[in-house]
C-alpha cells in the first residue's frame, strides 16, 4: 500500500502504528513459543500461577455471587430431566451398577489383602482428603483446567490426585498441575497431556495406559491380548505406569467402566474403551488427595 499521498505527519503515524502492532504480534508469538516449550516450573508458568493467586479472592466472590443463578439454572435443568422417564430409569440402572462395582472393588481388595501382608499404597491412608470448590473455569471450552480454592497452605501440592463425586461414588478426575498458597490449577484427565497407569478389575492384573481419545472418551492401551476384559468391568489406577515406573496416582482409585474392547488377530495387546465415572463439566466441588505420608510425597515428586 503506497503512502506517497500522505503528509509527513500522517506517514509518521502510519509507521508508528505499524511498529506498535508488529511489536505486539512479536511479543505474543514469543510468549506463546516460550510458554509452550518450558516446563511447569518455568518462569512464565510461575508468573501465570502468581497472577491466578492474586485474583483468587475475586474469583471466590464471583463464584459465590452467581451461585444462586447457577443453582436456579441447575434446578431448571433438573426439572426438565426429571420428566424424562428414560433418564430416570438410566439413573436407577446406574445406581444398581454402583453396588455391583463397589462389590467388585471390595472383592478385589479382599483378594489383594489375602495375598499380601502389607499394601503400602493405600490411598485412603496415605492421603488427606481436602474438599475444594471450583472457583475458576477456563474462559474457553477448549482447555480442560479449573482453578480451585485450596493450595499449598492446605497441603495441596503439584501432582496431587483429584477426585470428583458421581452417581457411582468418587472417581479420579485429574491432577493438580499448579499449586499456589491459596489456590491451585487442576488439569482433568481429558487433557491430552495426561496419561494414567490403570488396571482392569477381573483382567488377571493386566496393566495399561489410559489416555483421552475425545472429550468424555478414553482408551486404554497395553493390556495383554490374553487378559479377559469385558464390557462393564471397572477400571482403577494401577499405582504404577508403563515399564514399572512409579505413578503419581496411588493404586485403587476408581476411574470408570469398560465400554468396548478391540484387538486384531495378530495383536499382542488389546485396546479398551472407557467411560469415566465422573463428568468434570458438571462439578462444583472436588476432593484433592493431599499427600501426607513419605510414600505419597515420593509419588507426587515423580517426574
Amino acid at each position: 500500500m503506497s503512502n506517497s499521498g500522505h503528509t509527513p505527519l500522517a506517514q509518521r503515524r502510519i509507521l508508528a502504528r505499524r511498529l506498535i502492532i508488529g511489536g505486539l504480534v512479536v511479543v505474543c508469538v514469543i510468549t506463546l513459543s516460550v510458554f509452550a516449550r518450558e516446563t511447569n516450573s518455568g518462569t512464565l508458568h510461575r508468573v501465570q500461577n502468581i497472577s491466578g493467586t492474586v485474583v483468587t479472592p475475586l474469583q471466590q466472590g464471583a463464584s459465590r455471587a452467581i451461585a444462586p443463578v447457577r443453582n436456579a439454572w441447575g434446578w431448571f435443568t433438573d426439572v426438565l430431566h426429571a420428566r424424562d422417564r428414560a433418564a430416570q430409569l438410566a439413573r436407577d440402572n446406574q445406581a444398581l451398577r454402583t453396588e455391583l462395582v463397589q462389590g467388585q472393588f471390595g472383592a478385589e481388595e479382599q483378594q489383594r489383602l489375602a495375598k499380601l501382608a502389607t499394601i503400602g499404597s493405600e490411598w485412603r491412608a496415605d492421603y488427606a482428603q481436602v474438599p475444594a470448590e471450583i472457583i475458576g473455569r477456563s474462559p474457553s471450552p477448549w482447555y480442560e483446567q479449573v482453578r480451585i480454592d485450596k493450595g499449598t497452605n492446605d497441603g495441596v501440592i503439584v501432582n496431587s490426585p483429584v477426585l470428583g463425586a458421581a452417581d457411582v461414588g468418587a472417581g479420579l478426575v485429574g491432577v493438580v498441575t499448579q499449586a499456589g498458597p491459596v489456590s491451585s490449577v487442576v488439569s482433568f484427565l481429558s487433557d491430552p497431556r495426561t496419561s494414567v497407569g490403570v488396571t482392569i478389575v477381573n483382567s488377571d492384573g493386566g496393566i495399561g495406559l489410559l489416555q483421552p481419545t475425545a472429550p468424555g472418551a478414553f482408551s486404554i492401551t497395553g493390556i495383554p491380548a490374553q487378559s479377559p476384559v469385558g464390557n462393564g468391568d471397572p477400571v482403577m489406577t494401577a499405582g504404577f505406569s508403563q515399564f514399572g515406573l512409579q505413578s503419581i496416582y496411588p493404586r485403587g482409585i476408581p476411574i470408570g467402566l469398560v465400554t468396548g474392547v478391540g484387538r486384531g488377530e495378530v495383536d499382542v495387546t488389546q485396546t479398551v474403551q472407557l467411560s469415566p465415572f465422573v463428568n468434570p463439566d458438571s462439578l462444583a466441588y472436588l476432593v484433592v488427595l493431599a499427600p501426607k505420608s513419605v510414600l505419597a510425597r515420593q509419588r507426587a515428586a515423580t517426574p
Binding site: 499521498g5 500522517a10 511479543v27 505474543c28 508469538v29 514469543i30 509452550a36 474457553s140
Partner: protein
Amino acid sequence: MSTRPSMMMSAAGASAGAPRVTVPPRVPAIIAIACVAVLLQVSVMPFLTVAQGMPDLLVCAVVSIAVFRGALVGAIVGAVAGLSVELLAPVGTLGALGLLYLVVGYALGRLCEREGVREFLPVVLFCVIGECVVQVGELAMQVLLARPLIAGDVAREVLAALILTGFIAVPIHVIIRKVLRAPRVIEPYRMPGDG
C-alpha cells in the same frame, strides 16, 4: 450528556488550514473497561454456559473499543486483555488469546475506520465475526496441540458461543458507548487540502 465529538485544531490540521475532528482519548475509561471485561470474563462468564458454549464478553468489549477508538487502540486493548485473561484464568497457553484478540481489534477497527460503521447491527455482526475468529484460532491451536476433538461437539460449542456473544453484544456496546462518551475516531491519514 452529549456524545458529539469536540472540535479541536490538530497540529496537522492547523498547518493545512483545516479543522480536524477528534475526541479526547479517555484512556482511563478504556483501561477501566478492559479491566472490568477481563475480570468478568475470567470470573463470571465460565459459569454461564449453555450447550457447553459461553458468551465472550471480552470480544464484545474489544470490538466496541475498536469501533469507537480505532484500529490501533483496539489492537492494543485486544492484545493486553487477551494476555491478561491467559494470566488470570486456568488456560493452557500464554500468548495465543493475546494474538487472537489483537487480530480482532485491529482488523475490525480498521474496517470501521474505512467504512464508517457505527450502527448497532453491524457492530453485533462484528462481535460475532470476532468471536468466530477467536474460536477458529483456538480450534487451530488445539489441533496443533494434537488434542482429540469431536466435530459435532466442536460445532455445538462454537455455535452456542457465537449466539450467546451476539446476544450480549448490544448491551455491551451501549454501555461502552455511554462510558466513552464519543463516537469512534476516523483517523484522517489524508488530510483535507492534501491534494
